[in-house]
Symmetry: C2
Subunit: 217 residues, 2 copies
């Protein structure tokens, strides 16, 4: 199968932020929202906002704006966040625990139902309400539970091995927080989260600003 191409990547990344804002508005009883307000909130241009919202398929009303409720539904539908996806998480360390502790995921259609770790001190314990199983049972349990999504929170040098086991257990989508690019069969999707990448961008912005300031004097 061909690689899965997602067009409008930046837009998709922004959708959760719209969703948060729109949910807050709905809670506050607001029914209509116009582009300029969202643009101010997002610190983006109005055109960007309209393009982003257009991707989800909603139409606004000229001179008026968009219906908040309609937007929320459209975004959730586009992301398929109406249906809950169950996932297993491997690596119950600091980051893994943090992800399990994040309640917002339920809102995003993600439910982490079990964790795995190699550390005997962790196996058998509970982290944020989920049991931590022996990593050696990953394949077996994943298959039995029919889970199709896996989250990798182990150090980089162990990530490929975990990915292989996940694939063996029938996992079709991997959310990878390790600092490596994983090799998986064509029918498995990987989304990588490179936290250090954000720090790299920040670092470059900082040094850029320094030289710009120098240049201005």
């Amino acid at each position: 199968m061909a690689k899965v191409k997602v067009p409008k990547l930046p837009t998709v990344r922004r959708l959760p932020t719209y969703l948060y804002k729109l949910s807050e508005m709905r809670k506050a009883g607001v029914e209509i929202v116009a582009t300029p307000e969202l643009a101010r909130y997002m610190n983006l241009g109005e055109i960007v906002i309209r393009k982003d919202l257009a991707l989800t398929g909603v139409s606004g009303q000229p001179g008026v704006g968009y219906k908040v409720r309609e937007l929320i539904d459209a975004i959730k539908r586009y992301l398929n966040w109406n249906n809950v996806s169950e996932a297993v998480l491997v690596g119950a360390g600091a980051l893994g625990s943090a992800l399990m502790g994040y309640e917002g995921f339920e809102e995003y259609g993600l439910r982490i139902i079990a964790a795995f770790d190699a550390d005997p001190m962790k196996i058998g314990t509970e982290v944020r309400g989920r049991s931590v199983f022996d990593i050696d049972r990953l394949e077996e349990l994943t298959r039995r539970l029919q889970v199709r999504m896996g989250i990798i929170c182990v150090p980089a040098d162990q990530a490929q091995d975990i990915a292989d086991r996940m694939v063996a257990g029938g996992i079709k989508a991997i959310w990878n927080f390790a600092n490596v690019s994983l090799k998986v069969p064509d029918d498995v999707i990987v989304q990588r989260e490179v936290i250090a990448g954000g720090l790299a961008v920040l670092s470059v912005k900082m040094s850029r600003k320094l030289v710009e300031e120098d240049a201005q004097d």
Copy 2:
């Protein structure tokens, strides 16, 4: 001051991954690396690799490859990761603790020296070796410690307030893990990390694949 523009954003985001691989190679005693090997490791095309490395200013030798050590130095220099930046972190919850527990940051020139929180249960305790101070002391301590970088790990609805206090305390660079776009003066840089954004991309890839599979039958 004008907004800081960083060209080649995708390249910068990839640099930490090169850095990890190259460091491993150096540890293993490897002195020379050629594009094809890195391309396999990164799951990218060879041209991408050469463009990425060119950004840091290094020159490879045709027919041979690049010097591992030279590449490491060049990447670190480009990211300014040779010099340590001290940072304060606000929000000693699950994610905040995870970031403080990540030892790799030292390698990236980042040292988190103190944490802040509003929870009386946390104030006065230590998390991963750093004291947790009362959030009300953020401005004072930041100023006294001369810290220029702040990391925000609080819920979205509190993030702007924290950012304002950071700016008041003299912070010039903010790494923001909250799901909001912050408003700050022009001389302050913000880098936002939207974890949910990655999940959104993964979700779209998954539903895309489903429809593609449907179409193939």
